[in-house]
Amino acid sequence: MTEEENGTSEGEEGKAPTEEAPRIGVFVCDCGLNIAGSVDTQSVADYAGTLPDVVWAGRQKYTCSDPGQMLIEDMIEEHDLNRVVVASCSPRLHEPTFRGTVERAGMNKYQFEMANIREHCSWIHLYDKEGGTDKAKDLVRMAVAKVRLLEPQEETKVRVETTALVIGGGVAGIQAALDLADSGFKVHVVEKEPSIGGKMAQIDKTFPTMDCSICILAPKMSEAGNHPNITLHTYSEVQSIDGYIGNFTAKILHKARYVTTDCTSCGDCADACEQLAPNEFDIGLATRKAIYIPFAQAVPSQYIIDMNTCLGTEPIACGKCKDACEREAVDLEMNDEVVEIDVGTVIVATGVDVYDATAIPEYHYGEYPDVITTMEFERLVNAGGPTSGHLVRPSNMKTPKTVAFIQCVGSRSLKNGHPYCSNVCCMNTIKDSLLIREHYGRDLKIDVYYMDIRAFGKGFEDLYNRSKAEGVRFIRGIPASITEVPDNHDLRIVVEDTSLGRVLTRDYEMVVLSVGMEAAHDAEKVQHLLTLSRTSDGFFLEAHPKLKPVDAPTQGVFLCGCAEGPKDIKDSVTQASAAAARAGILMGAGEVTVEAITAVVDEDLCTSCGLCAKVCPYHAIEVDTKAKTPAHVIEAACAGCGTCAAECAFGAIHQRHFTDQQIEGQIDQATASKAEDLVLTFACNWCSYAGADFAGVSRMQMPPAARVIRTMCSGRISVDFVLRAFANGAPTVLVSGCHLTDCHYINANQQTLKRVEKLWKRFDKWGIRKERLALAWVSAAEGAKFQETITKMSEIAKTVTAKEIKETKDIIARNYKFKAEKMARARAKKAGADPGAANKAKAKAKNGT
């Protein structure tokens, strides 16, 4: 770093760090009535015009529209603006848009800043126009303070590996893999079961067109199995994924199958085998051998030994299968192995599990043999199933004369199962009712108990009408209980027909529980592999619910199928193709630009203490503490969390675009707020800031107390920042970030926790009320938690008196030395040792004023 730059980075209040005097334009957006409805945008714009260095300020109806963007370009040219603030929606939505706008007008896009006066203001203060307007002014003032100090940056590009990893080999994973493979990319598909195919392979027919499920899936399965660009890893698990967009490394565990690829699936081995186990594919309605192939159409068509069943209580395998195999494909000595692959993109297609109906005791599932679930029904009517497609009562193996379906089992319930609608069960039951009709005619009576029939898709209502026309009775009412009539296993249902208000007692020979879907039981593991987020219902959260529906919040990762939410086959396939297209765009380009937010070391100030290297989650900093050589950042490895900058006690390492001076500028302006219940809030880009956005999108109302300062990671929040806020007079400070296991920078938020705990200890010692500093882990889906936290903190803030604030200021002044002071001392010392530099700095200071 040159002396000149060195001198300027001190960035005193109101002074620009670059040669060029700041000329700031502020564009306040009405967003129709979204903002203007509860914020007086004109007065915000008028106020912005009074701020130092602002040369143009105005308001527009829609800043993101073409005319809106054109105005920005025109004003940049007309007023020679070199910095722009747009006060509108969340930067997570439109920062890329406006960065593009200012770039087109010849500005550096890093000298642009947004004030989020929609999600963080107008939408959450719908009924408090005065409070909302005051808050919007504060937010604009904070943005102006930051933009004044922003420096131009150059972005670097990284290469994108043109291989994709697809996790999950159900229909969604298969489709995504085929689309990518057909586009010329290499694809690795990892499936935990011995065969690909997923849940769709188990279903009999599909709605609304009644195609045979396996008949339409099997060709796709074998295509995936034979595709030159696709490598299948079945009976495998992803153990770890490291790296970042374009450059992931995945470790995949191949569990031992004990049968080699020489297997021709002739079945001689299974004939010889004497050990039995329940057949998982048939939901335990039939048995299989210890050496088995999951189902006839399995891909790969290769047997597998279930060692637990094979051995039973014996210490060694009997070896009969080995003897029976002519190809010598049985290898009882086979071991698990781990392979490592490099991929540029990852598609998560991990699917769902089925709700366990034993949780509803009044239905006696698992106890009464003739109470079955949807998946069991599918196997019972499937020609490839245990009864060759004959629907029979498990209790006596005879075809039932009456069947009842009960809908919403485990769905739409705050008590049993899940609060959401499982999306497919209504149509699945309607399809099943028609299947029964097809096979057994009208002699078999069918009643469907439901509370709402949701037949919203293309062709769905037609199918519903067909079922009704076929004499299937739809009765609106959810049965309260099923009891088994003594002696004959008939099932007695008590239910209110709510449309008549009559209580019915009806006997059936079979009851099918239409169970819903729930998030895959290993979703949590996948979540941690890729630092994804999940919504409260357990499904993976998309980057944007409307506009980025298949992008995960982690760049380079995409979602499809039921992993993202319950959906039918058509929607899963559609989403899979979308995810493949999104991944293909990245890999097709072959490179991706990385935000210029990496860390930079000021070698003059570095004492080579090594703290920064210690806290870096990416091992991206090298420092030799013995040789006392200054720290060095490996830029390609740096992800830009800023934890190092927060940790350094000497201000010797800073994060581009999120420097101490820039953030402190925001803090100073936030604490200048007139709000008496001020909650100065630090939020990380990925979780808590997004959670606050989510609260806004959901219109969760709260007091206009929060002034949010966004950093990439909560690990960027230094002790200095918090204490500066309190020293400035803030009644309360909230530090928020991702949940501890969900940090987007591996584990940088552990540092956040440490720092806040250290601060609490100091507060205890100093006699500052601890509850004035709060720490909250808020995920991107936890808008309600953000609302709750701010509401609570605002109440605490109101209890802080002017006297208490004054005392806090004195305490901090007495007990704490800020980094800025230390840096000034270090510089003075350096200057003393090098008078030339001191003179230069002095001259600079003169010119600057």
Partner: protein, 285 residues
């Protein structure tokens, strides 16, 4: 030796005193010391009192909790109704400071001591299972009841509302079945085992015929299986089944035993102490 304030309630001491004498003797044999508290009144019954005016219900329940508090004891009940009132009131007052303050205002105005929010209320079946334990009970069984088919009636306010009671799954509980089977008897399963006897909620008082119809429905389920007796843990359910069978004039009649009387049998207590002569359905076992 554990000690409890023995909460009598109304139905047991004034309609089925045999349950009271059995309970006193059974608990004595199992090493539980029971104390009488002359400040105890009606719990008061949830069906009528709470339905009419919940503030009265809460205040009188609090009065009983205070009585135990002053005696320095936790409460033991042998009636689901009393359990419903006292346990729910205690749950409410021990967790909600505003409610507690409100009730204490009433108590104070009436000249009573205030409730501190600490009294615990225990159903005797829970004391039997958790504190005394099945092993200790088994040791006391002198007369093995092998071959006796027992239709257990749990009653409603023992386990429900489950969010307050948190004792056992109210749809598929085991607690009474285990306590019955420790004597060698068999707990028989039957349809709608968890159904109400029909008496609660003020229904027996207001529309006795409706209450009786529910009792009849439940008895019909018993007819589907082989049951020798009905076993309850609530004198009010006990009364509904015992008197109800007389009023219904059914062919098959099931003797009705409270768990304490049932244990009296198994422990070979003096039959006179069990008070079977005061039952409408003869108990001849």
């Amino acid at each position: 030796m554990s000690k409890y304030a023995f909460f009598l309630g109304c139905v047991m001491p004034m309609r089925y005193p045999g349950i009271e004498s059995s309970t006193r003797e059974v608990m004595k044999q199992l090493g539980v010391e029971l104390f009488d508290v002359e400040e105890f009144s009606c719990c008061p019954a949830p069906g009528v009192t709470r339905s009419l005016q919940s503030s009265t219900w809460l205040a009188v329940a609090a009065h009983n909790l205070v009585a135990a508090q002053e005696a320095g004891l936790d409460i033991m009940v042998v009636c689901n109704g009393c359990f419903g009132s006292l346990a729910e009131a205690a749950h409410m007052l021990n967790h909600d400071k505003d409610k507690l303050a409100e009730v204490n205002k009433v108590l104070k105005a009436a000249g009573s001591k205030e409730y501190k929010g600490k009294t615990n209320v225990n159903h005797f079946a829970v004391i039997l299972q958790d504190e005394i334990g099945l092993d200790a009970i088994a040791k006391r069984v002198k007369h093995k009841l092998d071959g006796m088919n027992v239709a257990i009636h749990y009653g409603c306010h023992f386990l429900k509302p489950s969010a307050v009671k948190e004792l056992d799954n109210p749809e598929t509980p085991r607690i009474l079945d285990d306590l019955v089977e420790v004597t060698g008897a068999t707990s028989v399963d039957y349809r709608h085992k968890q159904m109400c006897c029909g008496a609660g909620g003020g229904v027996r008082a207001n529309t006795p015929d409706v209450a009786l119809k529910m009792t009849e429905e439940k008895l019909n389920y018993l007819d589907e299986i082989e049951a020798d007796i009905i076993l309850d843990v609530c004198p009010f359910c006990h009364l509904q089944y015992d008197r109800g069978q007389k009023d219904l004039d059914r062919e098959t009649k099931y003797p009705v035993l409270h768990l304490s009387q049932f244990y009296g049998l198994a422990f070979e207590m003096d039959n006179k102490l069990l008070g079977f002569n005061m039952h409408d359905v003869p108990v001849d076992l």
